[in-house]
C-alpha cells in the first residue's frame, strides 16, 4: 500500500518530456517533487503562470507571485505570466498536455465528483470544472476508499459532478486503473504487496483484471 508520496511518485512516471502539466491541490502538488531527471516539464498554475518554480527561500517571498493554491512560489527561466482569461484559453484549447487532480468519487464511465458535499460548507469548484471539461489527458490521484471505508470507485457518482466522461486514469494507494471507453475500471498495476482480491473488495464499480496484474515498479 502506498502513502501519498508513493502515489505522487507513481504518477510522475506518466509525465513525458516536453509536457505542459497542471497540478491540482493535495497529492497532485507532490508530483512535482518526483519528476524524473532529464524529463523537462512546464507546470501551469491557472491563476496565470507557466513555468512554476519551487517555493521561495525564506525572506524571498513575493506577495505578487503565488500559485493557484495561494502559496508563495517562484518563476523559472522561460516562465511567462498572463491573465485569467488567457490562462483558461490555453486549458480549453488543449495546450496543456496533462491535468492531475484529486477526487472524492470517480465512476466507471469516467465521471468525477470533487467539489461539493451537499449539506456541508461548499467552497466552490475553482478551476476544476474547466480543467476536466477540456483536458485531453486527466489522471486522478486519490485514496481508493474514503474515511468511512467506502469505495470511491463507483458504478455511478453519488456526489454532485465536476465533469462527465472525462477521467481516463486513476492512481490510488492500491492500484493504477484505466477507465475503459465502454465503461469499467481496468486494473493495470497493483501497489507492492496488494492482491487483486483486495483491490476488488475496495472497488464498487465494475473491475476488470487480467490473470497476472504486475506490481508497480519504482526506480
Amino acid at each position: 500500500m502506498l502513502d501519498k508520496d508513493g502515489i505522487a511518485k507513481r504518477i510522475a512516471k506518466e509525465i513525458k518530456d516536453g509536457f505542459y502539466v497542471n497540478l491540482g491541490i493535495g497529492i497532485p502538488t507532490l508530483v512535482a517533487n518526483y519528476i524524473p531527471e532529464g524529463i523537462n516539464v512546464v507546470l501551469q498554475s491557472e491563476n496565470g503562470l507557466l513555468g512554476m518554480g519551487p517555493f521561495p527561500f525564506e525572506g524571498e517571498e513575493d506577495a505578487d507571485l503565488i500559485n493557484a493554491g495561494k502559496q508563495t512560489i517562484t518563476t523559472l527561466p522561460g516562465s511567462s505570466i498572463f491573465d485569467s482569461a488567457l490562462s483558461f484559453g490555453m486549458i480549453r484549447s488543449q495546450k496543456i498536455d496533462l491535468t492531475i487532480l484529486g477526487a472524492m468519487e470517480v465512476s466507471e464511465n469516467g465521471d468525477i465528483a470533487n467539489w461539493k458535499i451537499p449539506g456541508k460548507m461548499v467552497k466552490g469548484m475553482g478551476g476544476a470544472m474547466d480543467l476536466v471539461a477540456s483536458a485531453k489527458n486527466i489522471i486522478v490521484a486519490m485514496q481508493h476508499v474514503n474515511k468511512a471505508g467506502e469505495s470511491k470507485l463507483l458504478p455511478k457518482c453519488t456526489l454532485p459532478l465536476t465533469g462527465v466522461n472525462c477521467i481516463k486514469k486513476i492512481v490510488t494507494e492500491l492500484a493504477v486503473l484505466d477507465v475503459l471507453p465502454g465503461g469499467g475500471f481496468q486494473l493495470i498495476e497493483r501497489a507492492p504487496g496488494v492482491s487483486v482480491d483486495y483491490i476488488r473488495q475496495a472497488t464498487t464499480g465494475k473491475l476488470f483484471a487480467e490473470d497476472n496484474v504486475p506490481e508497480m515498479i519504482f526506480d
Binding site: N47, T72, G124, D130, A133, L161
Partner: protein, 233 residues
C-alpha cells in the same frame, strides 16, 4: 491626452450606490484593490453584488465588506477561506453563485470584448448547467454563458499613467485586465502613477481607453495567504 487621474479612493468610488454590481480584481488576496475596498467600507454602500474570484479572508479584502454586511450577493469560483462568509451564507443573509473559474474569467472577457455570450464545455452535465442552453459544436456539448453586466470594475495594477494605461506585476495580474475591460466605469488603483509618456507603449497590458479613473494607492499591505518557503541547505 485625456487625464484620468482622481485624488484617491474616496473620490474614485464616490458615485457607487446601494445595489450596484461591482467587479473586483484579484486572486485570493493577490492583486486586490485594497484602497478602494477600504473606501467602500468607509462609504458604507450596501446590497452590492460582487463579482470576484474569491471573497477575501475574515479581516482582509472583500471580507472587510462582508463584516459590514455590505454584500448581498457574491459571484465567485472559490470562497473557502472566510468564516464570516460561511456564517452569512448558512443564515441566508448572503446569496452566492459559484461558477467555474474559467467561466468567470471568460464572462468578464466577453463583456470587455463586446460579445453577449460565450460557449464553454465547463460544467456540462453538472448542476452548473441547470437552466442553461446547451449547444453542440463538432460533436461536443457547450454551455451558453452570458457576458457579465457590471456597473463598476475595480482593479489594482502595479504601474499606471495619467492616461489610464496599466501594467500589472507577476501573478497579481490574474483577473484584473479582463475586469478592467468589462466595467461600465473602470477604476484603477496603482502602486505607482506616472506621467503619460513614461510607460513604454509596447509594455502596456491594459490600454487607457478602458480605464475611467486612476489614482496612486497608499499603504499596500499585500497580505500573503499561504506563506510557503524552502530552507537553504
Amino acid at each position: 491626452m485625456i487625464n484620468k487621474v482622481v485624488s484617491g479612493a474616496d473620490e474614485a468610488i464616490s458615485d457607487i450606490e446601494n445595489g450596484n454590481t461591482l467587479m473586483l480584481g484579484g486572486f485570493g488576496l493577490c492583486g486586490i484593490p485594497e484602497n478602494c475596498i477600504t473606501a467602500l467600507v468607509k462609504k458604507g454602500v450596501k446590497d452590492l453584488t460582487c463579482i470576484s474570484n474569491n471573497a477575501g479572508v475574515d479581516d482582509f479584502g472583500i471580507g472587510l465588506m462582508l463584516q459590514q454586511r455590505q454584500v448581498k450577493k457574491m459571484i465567485s469560483s472559490y470562497v473557502g477561506e472566510n468564516a464570516e462568509f460561511e456564517r452569512q451564507l448558512l443564515s441566508g443573509e448572503l446569496e452566492v453563485e459559484l461558477i467555474p473559474q474559467g467561466t468567470l474569467a471568460t464572462r468578464c472577457m466577453a463583456s470587455g470584448y463586446g460579445m453577449p455570450a460565450i460557449f464553454t464545455p465547463a460544467g456540462v452535465g453538472t448542476e452548473v448547467a441547470e437552466g442553461k442552453e446547451v449547444r453542440n459544436f463538432n460533436g461536443k456539448d457547450y454551455l451558453m454563458e452570458y457576458a457579465f453586466d457590471a456597473d463598476f470594475a475595480i482593479v489594482k495594477a502595479w504601474k499606471g499613467d495619467t492616461a489610464g494605461n496599466l501594467i500589472f506585476r507577476s501573478t497579481s495580474r490574474n483577473f484584473n485586465p479582463v475586469m478592467a475591460m468589462a466595467g461600465k466605469i473602470t477604476i484603477a488603483e496603482v502602486e505607482e502613477l506616472v506621467e503619460a509618456g513614461e510607460l513604454d507603449p509596447d509594455h502596456i497590458h491594459t490600454p487607457g481607453v478602458f480605464v475611467h479613473r486612476i489614482f496612486q494607492g497608499a499603504g499596500y499591505e499585500k497580505r500573503i495567504e499561504q506563506r510557503t518557503v524552502r530552507t537553504k541547505n
